[in-house]
C-alpha cells in the first residue's frame, strides 16, 4: 500500500494543498521547489498508509511555522526541519520511524516531504488538521489526547530549542511563536511525536492523497476543457470530504484587512454576476466563514475555498483583490473534525465568530429561510 512520491506528483500536490489551505497555510510554491530539489538530490519519497504503521512506531511530524510573507523573501536553507527532527529525537532518546504533516493545507503539506527525502524516512499519509489552521494547538492530535510537547524549533543557522509545556498545547504555541520571531519570523518544527496506534486514532487519514486528488482533478478538467468544479466535486466523492457545494459565483467588490494579535484578519465582499446576491467572507489567515445574503453557508472547520472563476486556481487571502472573478465552494470535513471536542479547539467559537457550526451539506442545501 505504500507508494513512491516523485517530482511528477508535485504540481498537482501543491495546487491541491493550496485548495485545502482555504486561503492560508502559505503559498506551496516555495515548498514545492524545496521538495523538488530534495527529490532530485536524494531520490523519491516513500508514502506510508496509516494502516501500515506498527502500533509502537515512533512518528514525528515536521512543519514550518511563521509568517508566509517572510517565507517569500527569506527562503529556507533546506536543513532546518531535519535539524528540528534530530533535536527532538535526541531529546526523546529514540529515532523516528516516519515523519508526517501536521497540516495538509498550504506549504506544510510539503515540509515533511523535504524531511523524508533528505533523511530517507517514510512520510505518513495523514495530518492533524485536515486543512490549514493558524495555530499549533489546532490539531486533532491534541483534541484526542496527544500532547504537542516536547517540541523542537530550529532556525537556518543550525540553532535548536526544545519546548516542553506538558499537556498545555496552547502555551506551547505561545512560546514557540516567540522563538520564531527571534529566529526571523520563520522557523521549522518537530512536535506531536506519537505512536503508530495514536496516528490511527487521532490523525485525519490519507490527506496527502486527498491533496493530490484535488490538484489532479483541477488539472485534468483544464486539459479537457471541462468544468473544473464539477470535476473536483466528483473526484471528492469517494473521499472523507465527500460534499462539495458551490456557494457563490461573482466578483469581489471589497477587501478589508487588519492586523490583530499578530494575525491577518479581515473580510471580503463579492456580488454575484447577476447582481442579485452578496457574499461575505471572514478570514483569519484562512477563510473561516462564507455568508450568502447574510446567512452562513459554510463555517470553519468545513472548507471555504475561493477559486479563480476561470481556471479554479486557489486564491490566498493575501492576494484577494477587488475585481477578481471567483467561485467560492464549501467542502465538508471528516467526522473527526466535527465532534464537540474538535469544535471547541477549532470551531467558529475558537475564532470568536458568533455562528454555530452546521455541516456545509446541511447549510447549503437547507438554507434557513427556505
Amino acid at each position: 500500500m505504500s507508494w513512491l512520491l516523485t517530482e511528477a506528483h508535485l504540481t498537482d500536490l501543491a495546487r491541491g494543498a493550496a485548495v485545502l489551505g482555504t486561503g492560508g497555510g502559505g503559498d506551496p510554491y516555495v515548498g514545492r521547489l524545496l521538495v523538488r530539489e530534495a527529490i532530485r538530490e536524494y531520490g523519491p519519497v516513500t508514502v506510508l498508509d496509516p494502516d501500515e504503521l506498527a502500533d509502537d512506531a515512533l512518528v514525528i511530524p515536521t512543519a514550518q511555522m511563521g509568517a508566509p510573507t517572510v517565507v517569500f523573501e527569506k527562503l529556507p536553507r533546506g536543513t532546518e526541519a531535519v535539524a528540528a527532527l534530530h533535536a527532538l529525537e535526541t531529546h526523546l532518546g529514540r529515532r523516528a520511524t516516519a515523519t508526517m504533516p501536521i497540516e495538509c493545507g498550504g506549504i506544510n503539506s510539503m515540509i515533511p516531504l523535504v524531511v523524508a527525502a533528505r533523511t530517507g524516512l517514510p512520510v505518513v499519509d495523514a495530518d492533524g488538521m485536515g486543512r490549514a489552521f493558524p495555530e499549533l494547538q489546532m490539531e486533532t492530535f491534541g483534541v484526542y489526547g496527544v500532547p504537542g510537547s516536547p517540541m523542537a524549533v530550529a532556525g537556518e543557522r543550525g540553532e535548536t530549542t526544545v519546548i516542553d509545556t506538558g499537556p498545555d498545547n496552547r502555551h506551547m504555541e505561545w512560546l514557540a511563536r516567540g522563538v520564531t520571531i527571534r529566529l526571523g519570523g520563520v522557523a521549522h518544527i518537530a512536535e506531536y511525536a506519537m505512536r503508530g496506534s495514536d496516528v490511527r486514532r487521532t490523525a485525519i487519514p490519507r490527506t496527502l492523497t486527498l491533496a493530490l486528488t484535488v490538484g489532479r482533478a483541477i488539472r485534468e478538467a483544464r486539459e479537457r476543457a471541462a468544468d473544473p468544479i464539477a470535476h473536483l466535486a466528483s473526484a471528492l466523492g469517494g473521499t472523507l470530504y465527500p460534499h462539495l457545494r458551490v456557494l457563490f459565483r461573482g466578483k469581489l467588490t471589497d477587501v478589508e484587512r487588519r492586523t490583530e494579535a499578530g494575525f491577518a484578519r479581515g473580510r471580503a465582499a463579492a456580488t454575484s454576476f447577476t447582481g442579485e446576491h452578496k457574499l461575505e467572507l471572514e478570514f483569519q489567515n484562512e477563510n473561516l466563514v462564507a455568508l450568502v445574503d447574510g446567512e452562513p453557508r459554510c463555517v470553519v472547520p468545513d472548507l471555504v475555498c475561493v477559486l479563480d472563476a476561470e481556471r479554479a486556481e486557489p486564491i490566498t487571502t493575501e492576494t484577494l483583490r477587488y475585481g477578481q472573478r471567483v467561485t467560492v465552494v464549501g467542502i465538508s470535513t471528516p467526522g473527526l473534525m466535527r465532534t464537540p471536542e474538535a469544535l471547541a479547539v477549532f470551531g467558529p467559537g475558537a475564532f470568536g465568530l458568533p455562528y454555530e457550526f452546521r455541516p456545509v451539506e446541511y447549510l447549503a442545501d437547507f438554507p434557513p429561510d427556505g
Binding site: Y29, T69, E73, K74, R157, T180, I181, R257, T259, G262
Partner: protein
C-alpha cells in the same frame, strides 16, 4: 509637439502629436536593426505633416524588442546571479526554477554568499567581503559580462546590495551590475528572476538604446528620448539602458492608454482586436488595472506589474464554421495569412473578415466573393462575436455600473456599435496606431514598496511618509511637480509578526516636465 513610436514585432507605428491632437500617423515595417524602421517612420511623418525637428519637445518609444529577445533567447549576455542570503536560501539557489534553455542562453552562474536582512532589519549574517571578492574573481575567469545582485529584504534595506556592487565593480571593472531592490518588490525569487533577466539584457539594451538615440538625432531631433514602461509611465534613455526589463509589458499598456486618449475616456474597457485574438483590459483613471497573480515570462516566474488582460480567440482571421444555428468563430485563425486565405482576398477560407465585408461593415478585398453568403449565417456569426466580446468585457468589469467600451486594432470592425449589458462601443479615429499614441502620452511615475513597522497611533505619519517618497521619486524621474498624484495605494498587514509589520505599496505619477 511630440512623437510617439511603437516598435512591434511586425510593424513600427509613429504619430506626431500636438498636445493630444494627432497631426500625422504612419505604419511601416519593423526592420531587423530596428533603427532604420524608425528613420523611415519619422520620414513618413515629415511627409504627411511637415514639421520643424527643433519644435519636437520629446520622443517616446514603446518596444517589445527586449521581451522578444528573452522569449527567443537571443543576444543575451553571459550573466551571474549573486545572492546575499546565507545561511538561509541555500536549498533554492538563483535560477532554480528557470527553463534549462534560458539558463544556458545566458550561460547563467549562481553564487550564494552571506548577508541579507531579517524582516525587522537585523542582519541574517554579516557581509563577508573576502567571500564576495572570491565570487567576483570566479565570475571574471568564467567570462561573465553582467551581474545581478539580490539580497534578502533588500526592498526594506538595500545596504548589502549596494556594498556588494561596489566590491564586484572593483574586481570586475566594466561589468554591468543590476541590483534587485531597484527592479522588483518583495518576493525574493521573483525579484531576483527579474534582476537576472535585466542583467542578461543590459548589453542589448545599450546597443538598441544607442541605435534609437542616433536614429532620432539623425532626423535632426534634439529633444530628449524616452521609453515606455510596463505601468504606462516613461523612463529616460539612461534608465532604459540600466533597466531594459521595465519595458516588458509596455505593448498592451500603450495600446490601452492610447485608446483612452483617442476616445477621451479614462475609465473604460478596451478591446484590442488583432488577427487571431482580442485582448480586453480595463482602464481606471487612465491606467490599466494590474494583474494580481504572479506573471510568467518565457517560463520564468516574476512579479512584474503587468496589466490585467483577458484574451479571447476572436480576431480578423478567425475561422467561421457551422450553420446559422450553431455557428462558431475562432479560436483557430488564418493569422498573418489573412490576405492569402480569406475569401475576399481570393482564398478559400471563410474568416471573420469575410463576414464583416459581407455585412457591409468594411470594404476590403473583393466584396463580390462573399456576396453568396447566407445572410442568416452572417448575422449569426456577428451575433456570436458580439456575444463573446460582451461576455469578456463583462468578466473584466468590477461593478454593475455601465462601463464604456473602446475598440481599437485592425479587427475592431468586427464589433457591433453596441454591446449587450455595456452599451455603446467607441471607435476612435486613428485606432490602428493606438500603441504609438499611448507611448506619446505616457507619464512619469515613482513607486515605493516596503515593509514598515507601524507603532500604535503612527499609521498616518507612516502612510504620509511613504506617499511623499513616491511623489519625490516621480519628480526626481522628471515629472512636473504640480501634476503628480497618488494613483495606487495598497496596505497589507503581515501576520504573525509583532509591531504591526505592514507592507505598503504606493505609486505616484505626473506629466512629463517638458523643457524649453
Amino acid at each position: 509637439m511630440r512623437i510617439g513610436i511603437d516598435v512591434g514585432g511586425t510593424n513600427t507605428d509613429a504619430v506626431l502629436l500636438d498636445g493630444r491632437r494627432v497631426l500625422a500617423a504612419v505604419k511601416t515595417s519593423t526592420t531587423e536593426d530596428v533603427t532604420s524602421g524608425i528613420v523611415t517612420a519619422i520620414g513618413e511623418l515629415q511627409r504627411q505633416h511637415a514639421f520643424d525637428p527643433a519644435a519636437v519637445r520629446a520622443v517616446m518609444i514603446g518596444t517589445t524588442h527586449f521581451i522578444n529577445a528573452l522569449v527567443e533567447a537571443r543576444r543575451l549576455a553571459p550573466t551571474a546571479a549573486l545572492r546575499l542570503s546565507l545561511p538561509a536560501g541555500a536549498s533554492l539557489p538563483p535560477m532554480v526554477d528557470w527553463p534549462r534553455r534560458l539558463v544556458d542562453a545566458i550561460s547563467g552562474r549562481a553564487y550564494l554568499c552571506h548577508g541579507g536582512h531579517e524582516f525587522d532589519g537585523r542582519h541574517i549574517a554579516e557581509l563577508d567581503e573576502g567571500e564576495l571578492r572570491k565570487a567576483a574573481e570566479d565570475m571574471g575567469r568564467a567570462g561573465v559580462r553582467s551581474v545581478a545582485i539580490s539580497s534578502v529584504f533588500s526592498p526594506v534595506n538595500a545596504e548589502f546590495e549596494t556594498r556588494a556592487a561596489e566590491i564586484v565593480a572593483a574586481e570586475l571593472p566594466g561589468v554591468a551590475i543590476s541590483l534587485s531592490h531597484e527592479i522588483g518588490r518583495i518576493g525574493l525569487l521573483e525579484r531576483e528572476n527579474a534582476t537576472v533577466v535585466n542583467a542578461a539584457l543590459r548589453e542589448l539594451a545599450a546597443h538598441i538604446v544607442d541605435g534609437l538615440a542616433s536614429s532620432v538625432s539623425g532626423a535632426g531631433i534634439t529633444a530628449p528620448l524616452y521609453l515606455s514602461q510596463n505601468d504606462g509611465t516613461l523612463m529616460d534613455v539612461d534608465f532604459a539602458r540600466r533597466y531594459p526589463v521595465a519595458t516588458f509589458a509596455s505593448g498592451p499598456t500603450n495600446s490601452m492608454r492610447g485608446a483612452a486618449v483617442l476616445s477621451g475616456l479614462d475609465t473604460c474597457a478596451v478591446v484590442d482586436v488583432g488577427g487571431t485574438t482580442s485582448d480586453i483590459g480595463v482602464l481606471a483613471g487612465g491606467f490599466p488595472r494590474e494583474a494580481t497573480t504572479d506573471v510568467s515570462v518565457a517560463g520564468i516566474r516574476t512579479n512584474f506589474r503587468m496589466p490585467d488582460v483577458l484574451s479571447i480567440g476572436i480576431g480578423g482571421g478567425s475561422l467561421v464554421t457551422g450553420e446559422p444555428a450553431d455557428v462558431a468563430v475562432g479560436p483557430r485563425s488564418v493569422g498573418y495569412e489573412l490576405t492569402a486565405k480569406a475569401l475576399v482576398f481570393g482564398g478559400d477560407t471563410l474568416t471573420a473578415t469575410d463576414i464583416a465585408v459581407a455585412a457591409g461593415r468594411v470594404a476590403i478585398g473583393d466584396p463580390e466573393r462573399v456576396a453568396h453568403l447566407d445572410p442568416d449565417l452572417v448575422r449569426a456569426a456577428l451575433g456570436r462575436i458580439a456575444a463573446d466580446a460582451a461576455d469578456a468585457v463583462d468578466r473584466m468589469r468590477t461593478s454593475a455600473e455601465p462601463l464604456p467600451v473602446v475598440a481599437v486594432g485592425g479587427g475592431s470592425i468586427l464589433l457591433p456599435d453596441e454591446l449587450a449589458g455595456t452599451g455603446e462601443v467607441h471607435r476612435p479615429e486613428h485606432y490602428a496606431v493606438a500603441n504609438a499614441i499611448g507611448a506619446a502620452i505616457a507619464q512619469i511615475g515613482g513607486e515605493v514598496d516596503r515593509v514598515y513597522a507601524i507603532e500604535p497611533g503612527h499609521r498616518d505619519s507612516v502612510v504620509d511618509e511613504a506617499k511623499q517618497e513616491a511623489v519625490d521619486r516621480a519628480v526626481a524621474a522628471g515629472a512636473s511637480p504640480s501634476t503628480v498624484e497618488i494613483v495606487d495605494f495598497d496596505e497589507v498587514p503581515i501576520p504573525y509578526l509583532p509591531g504591526n509589520a505592514t507592507r505598503i505599496r504606493v505609486k505616484a505619477v505626473g506629466d512629463l516636465q517638458l523643457g524649453g
